[in-house]
């Protein structure tokens, strides 16, 4: 099975304090530590496990700049056979639809049975997978937390739905799935693995390579634009009840009554 995993390099929120820049129109990006988006890493692990069972190859792709190559190499160190960097000045400022259109152009020039994305990037909108699927007219499922390859060009997938319940579906290949964190346990990537792929060539593809109309992507074509960035005002903090269980129950009832939650 040929699997494409779309990955993204994002600020690592476990390593950074996210702060506004002085202009107030973005986060302060100087000195940020970046890493692969967590859900994308789970998607790569899932792809590797699938090809481990049924054969095939995993390709990782990202739309970005030179710096984004590092996450491709990290995922190649995990076991992805190929990394593809899609980069062009014309792509800068693309909204979700623009990114999906760029990825669609890449997919149409290749052959993939399965396309995985992380369910959401921390600084994004859980949109590219579903848009890409619609553009390709492939079936799509989000929040996938289990995948089993079954006979007849299908997958049996589990999805997390409301109330902590799980929904099982069969889905035809080729398809696009967005992967939920926790679907597996991503393997450790050591320095040795990173060094082994350090010199593996990563092709860089631009608008002309993909046949993308530069006017249809990028900032000028974006129909969703960020106009402001702010830190929300802090609300009142939570009150931690610190008594015995009985005392806490009594206090909770008092609070609920005071707020109108209990008559």
């Amino acid at each position: 099975m040929e699997i494409l995993v779309c990955v993204r390099r994002v600020p690592d929120t476990s390593e950074n304090e996210i702060e506004l820049n002085s202009a107030g129109n973005d986060i302060e990006r100087d000195d940020l530590v970046y890493s692969v988006n967590e859900a994308d890493n789970y998607a790569v692990e899932e792809a590797l496990q699938i090809v481990g069972k049924v054969g095939g190859n995993v390709t990782v792709v990202t739309v970005g700049g030179e710096d984004d190559e590092e996450v491709l190499r990290r995922e190649m160190a995990m076991g992805a056979k190929r990394g593809i960097l899609i980069s062009d000045e014309a792509f800068n400022g693309s909204d979700g639809k623009g990114i999906a259109a760029i990825l669609k152009a890449y997919v149409q020039k290749n052959h993939y049975d399965l396309i995985l994305t992380g369910v959401q990037a921390e600084d994004a909108a859980a949109q590219v997978g579903g848009m890409l699927a619609a553009m390709l007219d492939y079936p799509f499922a989000s929040l996938v937390n289990s995948i089993e390859v079954v006979e007849g060009g299908k997958l049996k997938i589990g999805r997390e739905i409301a109330g902590g319940n799980k929904e099982m579906n069969e889905i035809d290949l080729p398809c696009v799935l967005s992967i939920q964190t926790g679907i597996n346990e991503p393997r450790y990537v050591g320095m040795k693995g990173i060094r082994q792929v350090a010199s593996v060539p990563i092709p860089t593809l631009g608008a002309s390579d993909l046949g993308v109309d530069a006017a249809a992507v990028g900032e000028a074509a974006a129909r969703v634009k960020r106009v402001d960035y702010f830190v929300p005002a802090l609300g009142k903090g939570a009150e931690i009840l610190k008594g015995s269980r009985e005392e806490n129950i009594d206090r909770l009832i008092e609070l609920l009554k005071a707020k109108g939650g209990l008559q």
């Binding site: 996210i18 639809k97 994004a124 949109q127 579903g130 699927a133 619609a134 997390e160």
Partner: protein, 138 residues
């Protein structure tokens, strides 16, 4: 002003709580709007939800089919694309079904898409201004 639709999730003949939040969201976009509820499903449950919604929505459109008895975003999207006019604003609850439905629907309706909206500031110069969070609100 674009017509506003709200996709209503429901279960057991009862609309999801988000149905009322979507009415409020529609009024924030356009105070004069009489938003249209659109819901899919089958049977008596669908009829019961439609009746309930009539008290809160200007119009209620129900798309009834036994194929839609259990919500499947692929099928629902195809149904919605057939009835919702291009250029409309469609409000969808940001739950698992909305995550499945919204992005693809926006492509098929040729509409911009914003997910996980926490606030709506209104329309300015033909742009709808909304608030969403990044980095988990950090």
């Amino acid at each position: 002003m674009a017509r506003i639709f709200a996709y209503i999730e429901h279960k057991g003949g009862v609309p999801d709580d988000s149905a009322m939040e979507l009415v409020s969201a529609a009024k924030t976009i356009n105070a004069a709007a009489a938003p249209t509820a659109v819901l899919t499903g089958w049977g008596a449950d669908l009829d019961a939800v439609s009746t309930t919604l009539c008290a809160s929505y200007g119009e209620v459109w129900k798309i009834a089919s036994d194929a839609l008895a259990y919500p499947n975003a692929e099928l629902v999207r195809k149904a919605l694309v057939k009835v919702i006019p291009e250029g409309s604003i469609v409000l969808i609850p940001h739950a698992h079904f909305g995550v499945d439905l919204g992005p693809g629907l926006s492509i098929k309706l040729n509409s911009p898409f914003v997910s996980d909206v926490l606030g709506i500031e209104g329309v300015e110069g033909g742009w709808l201004k909304v608030v969403r969070q990044e980095f988990g609100g950090r």
